[in-house]
Subunit: 366 residues, 2 copies
Amino acid sequence: MIKFTLKNKSRKARTGILELKHGIVETPTFMTVGTYGSVKSLANSDLLECEAQIILCNAYHLMLRPEHDVVLKAGGLHKFMNWSKPILTDSGGYQVFSLSRQTRVSRNGVEFKSPLNGNKIFMTPEKSIETQINLGSDIMMIFDECTPYTATRDEVKKSMELSLYWAELSKKANNTTMPLFGIVQGGMHNDLREISLNELTKHNFDGYALGGLSVGEPSDIRNDIVEHIGCKLPEGKPRYLMGVGKPIDIIYAVREGIDMFDCVIPTRNARNGQLFTNLGNLNIRNKKYESDFTPIDKTCPCFTCKNYSRAYIRHLDRCNDILAGRLMSIHNVYFYQEFMRKIRLSIQENTLDALIENIEQNYIHE
Amino acid sequence: MIKFTLKNKSRKARTGILELKHGIVETPTFMTVGTYGSVKSLANSDLLECEAQIILCNAYHLMLRPEHDVVLKAGGLHKFMNWSKPILTDSGGYQVFSLSRQTRVSRNGVEFKSPLNGNKIFMTPEKSIETQINLGSDIMMIFDECTPYTATRDEVKKSMELSLYWAELSKKANNTTMPLFGIVQGGMHNDLREISLNELTKHNFDGYALGGLSVGEPSDIRNDIVEHIGCKLPEGKPRYLMGVGKPIDIIYAVREGIDMFDCVIPTRNARNGQLFTNLGNLNIRNKKYESDFTPIDKTCPCFTCKNYSRAYIRHLDRCNDILAGRLMSIHNVYFYQEFMRKIRLSIQENTLDALIENIEQNYIHE
């Protein structure tokens, strides 16, 4: 049910083709986040126009809402949201720890209160996998525990070991041929990450992710971890850096051999008026765009840039017209897809370093 | 600059073709409201897909925001909002009285405080027309005064006379060949409305509107007024009933010979989950739609109904995803355009009464 073919290599960086049930994904790829079974403000046709090949949805959120097996009754998430291309589902591990109240971890799972209605929920690896199977995911993730950046080495070690146990339970719970990725934990400790990786590979997962990053650590510490462990992930399987990130962080990780990324930055920033361009970021709320009748990015062929000016989008944003959020989301989502295309091309043409230099210059003041 | 050709008549009802600077409008027509130079949540391409032929924007709002002649610098409203079809601009009279604080009316105009920043503004017929000229409107409206439903006959009479004076000033202020419509006032008094109409026609406006309705009166009183005065508006000019309304109110007015309508109902209701269908209204927030995987209206070919189910739209609405507002707006805007097409066809085929009966049955419980 998963086929991953490496195409080009440029030192540690690589391009590949990931064949999934609902279609083909070119790697390195960026997955736009559609937490609740929708990329906020965007219709399926918008995502297709933005050239999105795969999106990420959250089993945690979709377990809480819609209730009563609605997605199952709809015939799965693809049918429910009318998205025919691949979907990766996150297991909910990260969300349990970042969004829930009163979490109580035991060896079998974690009890928490639903942030929506306060109901007590007991989440287990088995339940997470069952949810992801019912969603009809193209790639499922094991259920894991995450530790904050401030956790002690001892806490991280214990948590990593629990995550390994849950990885085993997740694997066992997958009574289908649907692809399941393992998640390497170990916080900011390279040796713990190596132990985690070694144990995980015994289960022969369909791909391997680096989890427990983007939890508050400085980006140079994260980059060091990725540099150390990235290329140690099995060569023939997809490598996924979870929750990252800004263009510069993505391209550094690509250099270390990472194939897959996801992050809320393009969509969340868009809704706050923060836009990516080939000459760096801009904030549409800045008064200097009041009478600027040029597009967000003159070189961008997205729907928004073909049709609307900075001045008009700024006006919509000031009038709280939700069209503003959509137009800006379309632009940022397209920008990220176009950015990944450039990365793939640069690996093919052995010009990744030049692209990195270009990004470093344009985003230096971020 | 305006050409109005009557096509079919069925008793008092009529179809026609209105030729404007930015295109042709088939009447009877419904103008979707785009107050601030945008139909909330909808892009130009959405409006075109909904088959909108003309939209309405508000000179009052666009005078307040964007500031600093931004629209003028953009080359007019059509360019600013990237809408190439006709735009009718309301003069701001109705809004001054419904939205502003501390209004002080004098013979020359009205002073009020901006609801956005509290700045004092003195609005005159001349300023309204200048604003509408700068917007590049296809049809401008005279600046008038509106009275509430509760006004005494004396107040209404005085206000109607002031509006007549302002109509004259508006006409004089229009130093272009751009079309300008007069607005009949006179509250709920047929004799006052006749005086207003008789005086207005002396100025030979390009079309005539019924204003000062939808100000809190019961719909049967409004319908009586329309029945009395509607067919007295000049036969060869477009007749416009301002701020109306629900499908049933529109079709009753069409029966009396009205050609043009505008109302926020389709778009405002959409954003609140209230949807029009050929079998009556539905509220998407109703729990019974939780697992309803049919479209909003099975017979509707709009983008929303072709792509999404009631269950999914309800889910988006509950998750506060702004996509919900857009999808529902698309449906309601399309519904109204389709409704007007059916009305035009029924006039052509002399079946308006049957269509009225059908609407009365489906919307009886409203």
